[in-house]
Amino acid sequence: MTLETMPFSKALNAGLRKALEDDPRVLLMGEDIGKLGGVFRVTESLQRDFGDRRVLDTPLAESGIVGTAIGLAMAGFRPVCEIQFDGFVFPAFDQITSQLAKMTNRHEGALSMPIVIRIPYGGHIGAVEHHQESPEAYFTHTPGLRVVSPSTPNDAYWMIQEAIASNDPVIFMEPKSRYWPKGEVDLSGSALPLHSSRIVRRGTDVTLVGHGAMVTTLLQAAALAEAEGTSCEVVDVRSLSPLDYGPILDSVRSTGRMVYAQEAPGFTSLGSEIAATVQERAFYALEAPVLRVSGFDTPFPPAKLEGVYLPDADRILEAVDRSLAY
């Protein structure tokens, strides 16, 4: 086992570097990803080492980035696109949802679209508007796309490589508030399959489920709950589409209670979908309805108010208390 401690962003960088080394058809494209190394430095020094025909500083146009990536994939490349911030993905919405997502289907399988679109997403960084959003449900709602979100440096390192190896388009949601904290990366280990969820903390009373940066908040909530005598199990969804319900249902069947937490607005969200499905499939195991803790159904607020908007451990514990009260 080769364990190395590094921040999430460095783990992503290492994963991208590995993918560029392993397959000459992989290329990276995006705004400021070359010399600058990306605004979050995720692609730092990759252009220096692989050249400007494998790490492209593109013109500043998101639809152009994704649309030309589609053409490059038709020419046999495996493009990895970076969208600079979550709120900047929408100019590319047609190219992602109507073009990329449907291309294999429209060609009746005659071609595949091995394209990864990396999107730094989520709040907690005190940034200006359009820089802290969680747009994952737009993409999980779109047939033809796969959507994943790593929550740890180890997953970042492995999942980016698995996403690049996928012959289907993958929306790769990077929880940007997790870019800096360090964690252990097992550079030699075998990866969990890309589309699998995972129990990250064992517990017996309530199952807490979430994805991306929320996993950290769920673990904080679980630690606080433990001090008060409540044992919480925590599941990291990891893959938002397709969803791996196995570990979630296993956990709910043992605890009988579940809380889903996410930064995104709650209405017609990933939490809505998971709550509905868990209630269909684990109905007789449930002691309480599945509860959801979400961002409010408002625009993401100005940064000074993000603490009001974003679910924290206290809001999760409030839901845990409500669940236990049934």
Partner: protein, 375 residues
């Protein structure tokens, strides 16, 4: 408009007389190099596709198709540019390029599959018989970015720009005056120019985006757009097949030589409706339609060929061939089998997907629950 009229490339007048405009001088050697057999092929292609196009329109009227977007009137722009492309080139059509696709080898019945509601595509662009022709795109202008990206790939792979026109690959992307307002078209020009992609942007200005006239898309001739991106651009009489051929040939070869993208505005006219769902009488006058009927691209080429001594036997032969092609289209259209009900689950992804598998299994089970299950 005076300046653009003088810069318009036209070699055939509406009456078929060979009268090159000043701007066409540099392209004349390409026309001189054409044989009578090639002239006749251009005419044959235009006539046959118009017959097929008319047949498809009729099939829609008779309930056999959901929709048909007629190519009537745009045959010269398409025949000229399609023959200008070389075998190794890749074509990105919009959805009215019935002429181009057939010349590249696509079976018109494959287009029918889209318009009859049997498929979202219709053919495999990677099958050599289809001449590197990508499938139709209905979201206007989105294919221009795919073409730019494909051209970038050709440049990155060294498949273009070697100086050998028989080997160097290039891309032709078709779009219209309406699509020219789409942001994707502008972004495609930016990307193609930035990466010196070998892409010919072929704009067919047919004057109408459904009911909206071209003047609403642009106050000045659309050919001027290219200059803003550093893309040399030429305005051509799109109803003159020889001009369309020569300019397309010249610009494509410049592009494949590594000089970057090129653009053409082919000035033509949509003689029919936008699609079979459209009613042009609500937005344009019959006087305008009659004026353009005088500039019919097929009549123009016919007059030119007559002047070169083509005989009635030739024209009668082409007409018979066209009638046969139209009849063949009808026969094979009505024989097209419906897709299997389970086909909706096919090829949503390239790799196995649990939700799709689950829903497919559910539908099979559901259908089997009826007496004499239908799936």
């Amino acid at each position: 408009m005076t300046t653009t009229e003088t810069s318009l490339v036209r070699v055939l007048e509406a009456d078929g007389s060979f009268a090159p405009s000043p701007a066409s001088e540099q392209y004349l050697p390409l026309i001189d190099a054409l044989t009578d057999a090639e002239f006749e092929q251009f005419y044959r292609d235009m006539v046959i596709i118009r017959a097929i196009d008319t047949q498809a329109t009729n099939l829609q009227r008779q309930g056999q198709l959901a929709l048909w977007p007629p190519s009537r009137g745009q045959e010269a722009a398409q025949v000229g540019s399609a023959h200008a492309a070389r075998r190794q080139d890749t074509i990105f059509p919009s959805y009215r390029e019935h002429v181009v696709t057939r010349i590249r080898g696509v079976d018109p019945v494959d287009i029918i599959k889209l318009m009859r509601g049997l498929s979202h595509g219709g053919w495999d662009p990677t099958d050599p018989k289809n001449g590197n022709t990508r499938i139709y795109t209905l979201v206007l202008g989105s294919q221009t970015l795919h073409a730019a990206g494909y051209g970038m790939g050709l440049a990155f792979d060294g498949k273009t720009g070697s100086g050998d026109p028989e080997r160097d690959e290039a891309v032709v992307v078709y779009y219209g005056d309406g699509a020219s307002s789409q942001g994707d078209v502008h972004e495609a020009m930016v990307f193609a120019a930035s990466y010196d992609a070998p892409v010919l942007f072929f704009l067919q200005n047919n004057h109408w985006a459904i009911s909206v006239p071209v003047e609403t898309q642009s106050k000045v001739p659309l050919v001027g757009r290219g200059a803003g991106y550093g893309i040399p651009s030429v305005r051509v009489d799109g109803n003159d097949v020889l001009a369309s051929y020569a300019v397309s040939r010249a610009l494509l070869d410049e592009s494949r030589a590594g000089l970057g993208p090129r653009a053409i505005e082919a000035v033509t006219y949509r003689m029919g409706a936008h699609t079979t769902s459209d009613d042009p009488t609500k937005y344009r006058g019959s006087d305008e339609e009659q004026r353009w009927a005088q500039r019919d691209p097929i009549a123009r080429m016919r007059a030119f060929l007559l002047g070169r001594g083509a005989g009635e036997a030739f024209f009668a032969g082409v007409d018979a061939e066209a009638a046969d092609a139209a009849e063949d289209l009808r026969a094979r259209t009505v024989d097209l089998p419906p897709p299997g009900r389970g086909a909706i689950f096919d090829h949503v992804y390239s790799e196995p997907h649990p939700l799709i598998a689950e829903q497919k299994a559910w539908l099979e089970h559901y259908e089997a629950s009826f007496e004499g299950g239908t799936l």
